[in-house]
Symmetry: C2
Subunit: 389 residues, 2 copies
């Protein structure tokens, strides 16, 4: 269903020749209103790509009505030429849609440091706009066009019914399979809604949802130069309560985040690390992230080794407050560590599938947070050393 699930949007995709496979690699999402609004969250990487800088600038103007995306090249670390190329992509999209360039955001993903082949890109944009449609197939095609090392396209949808029987919707698409870490990942996400919500509420809903979903996915600790999460509202389904709207956006973000985790490069386990009993949510998140970033722990989970000592060793490097002699740790529900010592037998831990839970109780407060990560595998090393990506 993707970005065309919500009413008021068209999507179109084309194979511009950026991918050597000949697969779809350029797409456009257009917001047909009647009340266009937009919000966005961008990478916090200081070395941001030209399309990120362009999109940040046009978002600030408050009249975004379309986005153009390409795979097959990140347009990052490309200097003034890269900035000119991002602007040209916006201009080409605007020309085809009857908009101004300043109404078009740009997202790119692929290898850093190479210039995009602009003749191919612009021909692809024209082709994508020419086939743009509001049907399901067009939304799916857009999700395919943004894939890089992804093994599957990622889409999500949410629908709520009002008391009078009318409905409003949120839909979205995402790409990303590596460099999945806070602030954000090598991740492009476009979410659309037909709810009529003002820009301030829309940004608040998106920022809140990202902080607890995409920003808590820390697959490999790496952060991209190109990450962008866009939320576009058409207003076609009328006003929606702000809290209801935030819940809908959160549901779609959470769904897409779990799909990104599931497709992480070379992974064999999806690990949810929940730290509770923390003095604050920030401390719970920091403690969970320290554990998520332990290469040794990620290897142990890959080997199905209930090595809780590596959880404590990683926890001890975080700034969270806790008594180092009172920590409890459960692996897949078995409390193998109680008060920072051996608890239930390690032999009781079972590993039934991809899903792994690590629960840590700090006994230092009332707050909790979950960070999601993956195991570290020989396949991850292979995928990231055998060729450039």
């Amino acid at each position: 269903m993707s970005v065309t699930f919500a009413r008021g949007f068209r999507a179109g995709a084309a194979a511009a020749g950026l991918k050597s496979s000949g697969a779809l690699d350029v797409c456009v999402v257009a917001n047909d209103g009647p009340a266009p609004a937009a919000a966005a969250v961008f990478t916090s990487n200081k070395v941001s790509a030209a399309p990120v800088r362009w999109s940040q600038q046009v978002l600030g103007k408050g009249d975004l009505q379309a986005v153009v995306l390409n795979s097959g090249g990140a347009n990052a670390c490309t200097g003034q030429q890269g900035a000119d190329d991002a602007a040209e992509m916006a201009a080409a999209t605007a020309a085809a849609l009857g908009l101004d360039a300043a109404q078009v955001a740009v997202c790119s993903t692929g290898l850093i440091g190479l210039r995009l082949p602009m003749a191919k890109v612009c021909a692809g944009i024209a082709a994508a706009v020419s086939v743009a449609d509001a049907d399901d197939a067009s939304g799916t095609a857009a999700a395919l066009a943004i894939m890089t090392t992804d093994s599957v396209p990622k889409t999500a949808q949410f629908q709520a019914e009002r008391a009078d029987g009318t409905t409003w919707r949120v839909g979205g698409m995402a790409k990303g399979a590596g460099m999945l870490a806070p602030g954000l990942a090598t991740m492009l996400v476009v979410i659309t809604t037909d709810a009529n919500v003002d820009g301030v509420s829309m940004q608040a809903a998106l920022t809140g949802a990202c902080s607890r979903t995409f920003n808590r996915l820390d697959s490999d600790g790496c952060m991209s130069t190109n990450d962008t999460v866009l939320l576009l509202g058409s207003g076609a389904a009328g006003p929606v309560d702000a809290a209801d709207f935030a819940a809908g956006v959160h549901a779609v973000c959470q769904d897409l985040m779990r799909q990104l985790q599931h497709d992480a490069e070379g992974s064999s386990k999806d690990i949810a690390i929940t730290v509770s009993g923390a003095a604050s949510e920030e401390q719970a998140e920091a403690a969970a992230r320290a554990i998520a970033r332990s290469a040794l722990l990620k290897c142990a989970v890959h080997g199905e080794d209930p090595n809780w000592g590596r959880v404590l060793a990683a926890l001890g490097t975080s700034d969270a407050q806790f008594d180092p002699d009172r920590v409890d740790v459960a692996l897949n529900g078995v409390w193998v560590c109680r008060d920072s010592q051996a608890g239930e037998s390690r032999e009781r831990v079972t590993w039934p599938g991809r899903e792994v839970t690590i629960d840590v109780s700090l006994k230092a407060g009332e707050h909790a947070a979950t960070v999601w990560t993956n195991d570290l595998t020989a396949m991850y090393v292979h995928e990231n050393s055998a060729y450039s990506s």
Copy 2:
């Protein structure tokens, strides 16, 4: 030569049965003076092991004259029983040497969360003390006894001659092959010197040397619960100028650090990341460390892929000040990135052996720092997932 290179020290080792292989696993280093002094640096991990807590306590008393070390068990996350066991190791060593328990430091390394078999440990201590000697072979045996996943023992020596022809010495041994990261690594280091230097100068020399050697080795981003660097001075060779002494300690630390890097689990490359042109040395170190921690970059180096984009993407996550459009990057001496864009051809980069250099110029100041790391390999994953360690 190891810890018996400097005059005034005896070492002894024994096979106590902690290692299933039957190899040496317990050793003792005794300081015979005439003017015993000591300094130490410990892990900054909040979850510190019982022997670390014991050693911190006895160091504070200012009369350390021996250290007992074991491999085959970390005695970490073992509760009050673990604290009692560490104290018993000190007491057993003291009894055999004719000292008080409070004059003996304790170091342990191995799996977290298991109690040490104390009957075997104490018998091993007695055996180690009974064979303790000042000869080279005894120093080498001690270096063998502290090995865990190390493939080779690590020892170093430094000798300086005064104007009058007399000499003073620094020697040392180290173990560590994984969890090599700041603050420190799974690393036990004992350094001995016959220089007669007061405790304050000794601590200053050790802290300074550690901050630029062991603390800048960041092999896998993981930090142990047991790390200890001990410096013992016998005074047997008389007084030494403080600056000369610091240089000698630094040389031995640097030598041992590079041996630890070279033996890092599963590694095929030793990477030296030097960031220059930083606004401060701290910022240079932070920037180099952010690069050293990029799993994607470490995979690229393993695959001999001159992927400078991953250097910039990692750099952009650090707090160092720099203009993101003005960074230069050299891989093995080839400046493949100039002003944050493609520079010399990637094809010019060659990979002649284990040694890899990554040089980054931030153009934001006059300061520089080097951080050492390793590549990320399938063998690292295998060694850390196939069995507990």
